[in-house]
């Protein structure tokens, strides 16, 4: 019994899983699905512009649908399945109470054009959340409208754009460290700015010199610095206050990408570091579920001088209740409605669940867990930077590559067979063969210990020359997927197979 499936063996094993073709392949002509209520008025049909061929949706039964998606789900790995140390993504536990609350009919079934007196509760949610996020940011006003981090970036940069325009000081450049997430430069482009990449220093953080040099070179053409803090190496930008001062000195703004707020929430406030505008990723720091790629929410927080440009409308509170205010100098809207309201409800629920001290505890425990993992893994992998790291850290494949020609990709895929989700790989780009690990605060030491053991086992097998994991993963329902083939001859829909 000691070799039992629940014993100290690899977490990953194999079990019965069912195959399932696409839902269209379950279809049978004439099979009926969902039943609508009967029509109690006369049936009418249009006579012009009639559709000639019905859209070929599947014709399946309720059980077909349930089985199909139940089976599909069984091929996914998720936080609820196991440890998911995907750096930069803050894959922490998503409390289920949030799902319950967001599904309340009083939240789910509200039309955004409901007259204000009939949606006071919805406005209260938005207003309260914006207030709390402002307190967390140490900034003056917040707009919860942006639908994701990338939209938050664009919104923040647009505010900067509007601010400079108001001051008749159109500018061209945004300074972005080389550790930045890809959305940062892409957002700059979208906001009409050119990106000037700043090299990070030997410690992995931004030194003062390159900023000074850029200021020297581009002067008042610099609109802003856009910095992620802690940065994508998991390192706190210790020079941020000084750098901010430098930028303020030329009338430029400091934008902070707050996607990594999980590391510092309650422990340090962007507003206290000289930041003028930032965005949050509610789907990271405030644990709204990632859902296989969204929805998220990317509220922006600003210092008061940027507030007149915030997206419209603003929600205001007075003794008469909540109401809308339309700012004359607003950049406009960046999304329909007031934002991804359902995500905002979850985030508010999460913050109220934690309270002030609980929110701070998030940062403490996420940094503790990450450093615990780092302490173990830096024994077997090359640590990218010795600098003290926060909620995540980077190691690389350099040892394994040198000694046995095994790459990060192989190590990541091998980890899957051990029953874990791999870390973020090959990002940030500044570290060749990077593995960016973010365990989050909701993992227990037991689970982290198992992750360490899995890595140890992989490294041991590599270094003892036993395995190179070129065929990993082998336990999954599909083996190594040919991504190159997918790109070479893209097939993007069932009908595209034959296009």
């Amino acid at each position: 019994m000691d070799k039992g499936m629940d014993q100290n063996k690899s977490l990953g094993t194999q079990g019965l899983v069912l195959r399932e073709a696409t839902i269209f392949e379950r279809s049978a002509a004439g099979r009926k699905g969902f039943g609508l209520p009967p029509l109690d008025v006369p049936l009418k049909k249009p006579s012009l512009y009639k559709r000639t061929h019905a859209a070929e949706l599947p014709e399946v039964s309720e059980l077909d649908v349930v089985r199909h998606f139940t089976r599909l789900s069984s091929w996914n790995y998720s936080i609820d399945t196991g440890t998911f140390p995907l750096g930069s993504c803050t894959m922490k536990y998503n409390p289920r109470i949030n799902e319950e609350i967001a599904a309340l009919p009083g939240f789910a079934n509200i039309h955004p054009d409901m007259p204000v007196e009939l949606c006071q509760g919805a406005l209260e949610v938005v207003h309260t959340l914006e207030g709390l996020l402002g307190e967390i940011a140490g900034l003056d006003e917040v707009s919860a409208q942006p639908a994701a981090g990338a939209v938050g970036e664009f919104t923040g940069l647009s505010l900067i754009h509007a601010f400079h325009a108001q001051h008749n000081s159109p500018r061209k450049y945004v300074l972005v460290p080389d550790t930045a997430h890809g959305t940062n430069p892409a957002s700059c482009t979208l906001a009409g700015y050119q990106t000037i990449t700043l090299p990070s220093g030997p410690k992995g953080i931004l030194d003062i010199e390159p900023v000074q040099a850029a200021i020297q070179k581009y002067g008042r053409d610099i609109a802003a610095l856009m910095v992620t803090n802690p940065n994508t190496l998991g390192l706190f930008e210790s020079n941020i206050s000084q750098i901010s001062e430098l930028l303020h000195g030329i009338g430029a703004q400091v934008y902070m990408d707050g996607a990594n707020m999980n590391a510092i929430v309650g422990m340090a406030r962007p507003g206290d570091m000289g930041v003028d505008v930032m965005h949050f990723n509610l789907h990271k720091t405030f644990s709204t579920p990632h859902g296989g790629g969204g929805p998220g929410a990317g509220p922006v927080a600003v210092r008061s001088h940027l507030a007149p440009f915030l997206p419209n409308p603003r929600v205001r509170k007075s003794s008469a209740g909540y109401s809308y205010e339309w700012l004359p100098n607003s950049i406009g809207k960046v999304k329909s409605g007031l934002g991804n309201f359902g995500v905002l409800v979850r985030a508010l629920c999460y913050i109220r669940h934690h309270g002030r001290d609980g929110v701070t505890r998030i940062a403490k425990n996420s940094v503790l867990n990450a450093n615990y993992l780092r302490a173990h893994l830096s024994k077997i992998f090359q640590l990218a930077y010795e600098t003290p790291s926060f909620h995540e850290f980077v190691v690389s494949d350099s040892r394994q590559l040198k000694s046995h020609n095994v790459k990060t990709l192989q190590i990541a895929k091998a980890l899957i067979d051990h029953g874990f989700h791999p870390p973020t790989i090959y990002f940030p780009l500044v570290v060749p063969g990077a593995m960016l690990m973010e365990p989050t605060e909701t993992e227990s030491l037991q689970d982290l210990d198992k992750l360490v053991e899995a890595f140890q086992d992989i490294v041991h097998r590599i270094e003892s020359g036993k395995e190179t994991f070129d065929n990993a993963p082998t336990k999954t329902v599909v083996g190594r997927v040919d991504e190159a083939a997918a790109a070479r001859r893209p097939v993007l829909s069932l009908d595209d197979r034959t296009l």
Partner: protein, 454 residues
């Protein structure tokens, strides 16, 4: 406060392994003055709440939103009937708590579902390719315009946009274009609420636009004559059709068949509640030749090393994480779970169900329209081809609106609030009224009664 998994003992053990004394030590690279100022005050929210207290708190808030008994709001957000299975299947942790499917070997569930979503969007719109979702209809429209600019090779090329596009869509497009180019030029609506073809012709001649954006149904519920419009456009001017209400695709010809190059829109009504405006889900479909210009994620079919059919994210070379400042858009997180809801809903609704849904909307509106007409409340744009919503001229609107609302019936959207200037005057007594599949004849009768008196 929810509990964190680390026990005090484990905390000690972790600190020991790390080699520091306290957790605070791990934060030493934060400048002391920043550390010291990090004092937050959440007011009454300082204390964490247990699940029980959270329920009490939010139940109390949510109650303020449920004071109405029926409503006729539409205009881009549509009430619909959501099958129980949609709500329950998306709660499965494997869907709810997974990430963007970067590791295809452990993400086939999400990947295949997106592939199915893409297929459905193609089949609905008649287009060849679809992406994996965008934030919402408005931002999908903005992305379409930006794609047209990319394709034209002129990032600041002039864009025409029907003035009858939903107001929010227009504002969002404006915001996204603002920093790089001039805002779209509006093509007004004619007396019948449809795109003014004469104006269109002259604007084309004047501006040589790289794209025209038309909403169909437009904000007034009117189906636009896309084929006719297409004929007015030069070959290199893309026809972008935006559909805040894609349920119209149940009954009406696909934009593709009528000559559209890009079809974007908002699909939330297919299985996702109104949720005060979001999260909803934008879709984006176009011709395969524009594949490499598409914003957002794409899932493609491929094989695994055992020769099995498999799916993977593909053409990432367009995306920000590879292309950075040269990416086709900055989109990263989008609307995965809402796209999944859409896929589940459309699977269950099915081919016949979609047609039935469209006929229901069409018939309910027809009944509403006839009833209101017989009570002396005519459609503003009488000749147009309406689908499920329309603008009515209601005498004494504000009084009747308030009275109905006080009785729990929200009769629609007062258009004067949505426009400014001369358009606002045109719409002084205009009410945009929309039906949805949950409506009964009795509810419509009550609305008609309320709108025709007082």
């Amino acid at each position: 406060m929810p509990s964190f998994p680390l026990t005090p003992d484990e905390e000690r053990r972790a600190l020991e392994v790390i080699g520091v004394q306290t957790i605070e030590d791990l934060f030493s690279s934060i400048p002391p003055q920043v550390r010291e100022r990090a004092k937050m005050d959440f007011g009454e929210a300082n204390a964490g709440l247990s699940e029980h207290e959270l329920r009490r708190y939010f139940d109390g808030i949510a109650k303020h939103n449920t004071q109405h008994t029926s409503h006729f709001l539409g205009g881009g957000v549509y009430d619909n009937i959501i099958p129980a299975i949609v709500n329950q299947l998306v709660l499965r942790g494997e869907f709810l708590t997974c990430y963007t499917p970067y590791q295809p070997e452990i993400s086939q569930g999400t990947l295949q579902a997106i592939f199915e979503f893409q297929t459905m969007i193609c089949r609905l719109t008649g287009m060849e390719v679809s992406n994996a979702s965008l934030y919402d209809g408005a931002s999908a429209t903005a992305e379409a315009v930006m794609m047209a600019q990319r394709i034209s090779g002129k990032p600041d090329a002039p864009i025409l946009m029907a003035a009858s596009t939903p107001p929010e869509y227009k504002t969002v497009v404006n915001t996204f274009l603002k920093c790089n180019s001039s805002p779209p030029i509006e093509v007004p609506w004619n007396k019948e609420g449809s795109l003014d073809e004469e104006k269109l012709k002259s604007l084309i001649a004047e501006h040589k636009p790289s794209a025209l954006v038309v909403a169909s149904p437009n904000y007034f519920g009117l189906i636009e004559p896309l084929d006719v419009i297409r004929k007015h456009l030069p070959a290199d001017c893309l026809l972008i059709v935006t559909m805040a209400d894609p349920s119209a695709l149940s009954l009406f010809e696909t934009p593709a068949a009528l000559g559209a190059d890009v079809v974007v829109g908002e699909a939330h009504q297919f299985g996702t509640p109104m949720l005060f405006g979001g999260p909803h889900v934008g879709f984006f479909a176009t011709k395969k030749k524009f594949l490499r210009n598409l914003p957002g994620r794409l899932v493609g079919e491929t094989v695994d090393d055992r020769g099995q059919r498999a799916y993977a994210l593909t053409l990432a070379t367009r995306e920000q994480h590879i292309r950075r400042e040269k990416a086709t858009s900055n989109i990263c997180t989008n609307q995965g779970l809402i796209a999944l809801r859409t896929t589940i809903y459309l699977s269950f609704l099915g081919k016949q169900g979609l047609i039935q849904l469209g006929e229901m909307n069409y018939s309910l509106f027809d009944y509403l329209k006839e009833s209101l007409a017989s009570h002396g409340i005519p459609l503003k744009f009488k000749k147009g081809l309406h689908y499920r919503e329309g603008v009515f001229e209601v005498p004494n609107l504000s009084v009747r609106f308030d009275k109905l609302t006080a009785n729990g019936i929200v009769p629609g959207i007062c258009l004067s609030q949505k426009y400014s200037g001369s358009q606002r005057e045109e719409f002084e007594n205009a009410l945009l009224v929309c039906v949805h599949p949950g409506h009964t004849r009795a509810e419509i009768d009550a609305l008609v009664e309320g709108l025709s008196h007082g």
